[in-house]
């Protein structure tokens, strides 16, 4: 099994380093997303946004507000509703956060670095089935909201979690089917191999061979399914910020904070997945012609990956603050009656084109 064999050969230290780096970057992104959500939404709406949190007189454009939020959540009372299931009540946000974060172990953030005669691939766990594992972990993340409502001993929360679970498993199907189109085109389930296959160019060297060029329709479907999986507007009826009571109505303080962190981490996860599968991951078109030393190439590629993730996160925020919310029956109809047949059609057309071209 290449997973265990990798740890034996390249060492636990490298794995720990890469995993630690990924976790650090992801948590940094999730924290920045808390700030970016307020600031980007404010600038989109012609206003300034939150800019009053200050440390020693420095306001720093409101960058301290996420820290203020964290302090507020940590100092709140840790409350479990009476007669609720204590273990599940604690477990639900943990499952949501851990499942969202553990998918990052398989996302390649760079090509490889050559250190001391050893080639280290820049994936925390290189595996030839990594895309499948990521899909599985995303399926596990459904348990978070599901258990949250079930453990809360509150009918409102239960209804919210039923909505959430139904929505998540519906859009999971479309997620998998659109990804199948990508796997057909790139002939691999290994995320690192998919990114490496996006290195070439089409149309006489002008158009990079990225996923969005080869599977544009698949990208649109994956975008819709990904936003539905993260339970963000326009698909946020389960949590329905202000109008309708969601599955975390009985959660306060850091338990609720974990749900919010899990949501932001899922945004980063799906941005990273979209960057990896459709936007060339760490590929920088035209970098090979510059003939830079290997360390510089690796650094530029890692930076390019995170820039792409940041831009896609900003795009998701743009969508969130532009679109109105779906009604629940519209949401389910969209998932089953529109996106599923369209993703099957996409798969059919992709397979037909590939079979025709040999």
């Amino acid at each position: 099994m290449s997973g265990g064999g990798y740890l034996m050969t390249a060492g636990l230290g490298w794995f720990a380093g890469k995993a630690g780096f990924m976790i650090g970057m992801v948590m940094g992104f999730a924290g920045m997303l808390g700030w970016a959500e307020r600031k980007q939404s404010a600038v989109m709406q012609d206003r300034v946004g939150a800019n009053r949190a200050s440390i020693l007189g420095f306001r720093a454009l409101g960058l301290f507000h996420p820290i203020a939020d964290a302090i507020k959540m940590l100092t709140k009372e840790d409350f479990v509703p009476p007669f609720a299931d204590k273990v599940l009540h604690l477990l639900a946000p943990l499952i949501a956060a851990v499942a969202a974060m553990s998918a990052f172990a398989f996302i390649p953030f760079g090509d490889e670095i050559h250190v001391g005669g050893r080639i280290v691939p820049l994936v925390a766990v290189p595996m030839d089935l990594s895309a499948l594992y990521v899909l599985g972990v995303v399926g596990l993340a459904i348990y978070g909201p599901f258990l949250a409502g079930a453990a809360s001993n509150s009918k409102y929360a239960l209804m919210g979690s039923l909505r959430a679970a139904a929505q998540l498993i519906s859009y999971e199907v479309t997620l998998g089917l659109t990804l199948m189109g990508v796997f057909l085109v790139f002939r691999s389930l290994d995320l690192q191999a998919i990114v490496q296959a996006q290195g070439g160019a089409l149309l006489g060297g002008w158009l990079p061979r990225w996923g969005i060029v080869l599977q544009p329709f698949g990208f649109l479907l994956f975008l819709a399914a990904a936003i539905a999986e993260t339970k963000r507007v326009p698909f946020d009826l389960p949590e329905g910020e202000s109008e309708i009571i969601g599955y975390f109505v009985e959660y306060s303080g850091m338990r609720f904070g974990l749900f919010m962190i899990a949501e932001f981490i899922e945004i980063v996860l799906f941005s990273a997945l979209m960057a990896t599968l459709f936007f060339g991951g760490w590929q920088v078109p035209g970098l090979a012609r510059l003939a830079l030393p290997q360390a510089a190439v690796a650094l530029i590629q890692v930076a390019a990956f995170f820039v792409k993730v940041a831009l896609l996160c900003a795009f998701q925020l743009l969508i969130r603050w532009t679109l109105p919310r779906f009604r629940y029956d519209q949401l389910m109809a969209l998932g089953w009656k529109r996106l599923l047949p369209l993703s099957l059609l996409n798969l059919l057309v992709t397979a037909a084109v590939l079979a025709w071209r040999g």
């Binding site: 600038v43 709406q45 532009t322």
Partner: protein
Amino acid sequence: MKFIERLYYPAVVKGLWITTRHLIGNLVRHGLFLAGLRKEPGLVTVQYPEQKRVLPPRSRTRHRLTRRSSGEPKCVACMLCATACPAECIHIEAGEHPDPTIEKYPVAFDIDLGRCVFCGLCVEACPVDAIRMDTGIIDLAAYDRHAMVLHKEELMNPPVVATPTGHPPTV
């Protein structure tokens, strides 16, 4: 719905174009303003309390009692304002004034800002123009209800503020 509306994505793209235009435009305009290259700020937020909005000249703000040239309050404790007040927030205690042309004067004049609805009926009711609502003071917060009751001393000596109405306080 027409077919192109049923597709949903074209409408999404149109909406995204509007918000992206706002996003990029505001970033550029406000960035130029912050860099000093542009006079007007790109964003419409008024940063209270550093900046204040200019209120219309007849805005009803905190009350004050006007004075005669001798320094005594113009108020003759006729109770018309207390009677007109719909929130019953004015309490006056009358005392006898030695001058027979000014029969009474207020010994105590309390306005409970917690009850006041800022309707201005007391100003309209007063026959001697003793009470006005033109100080321009709009930040009236206090830490308890007792601190929200204004007595005669505070009403006769309002703090001078750069009035948010933008007009000098009338004498």
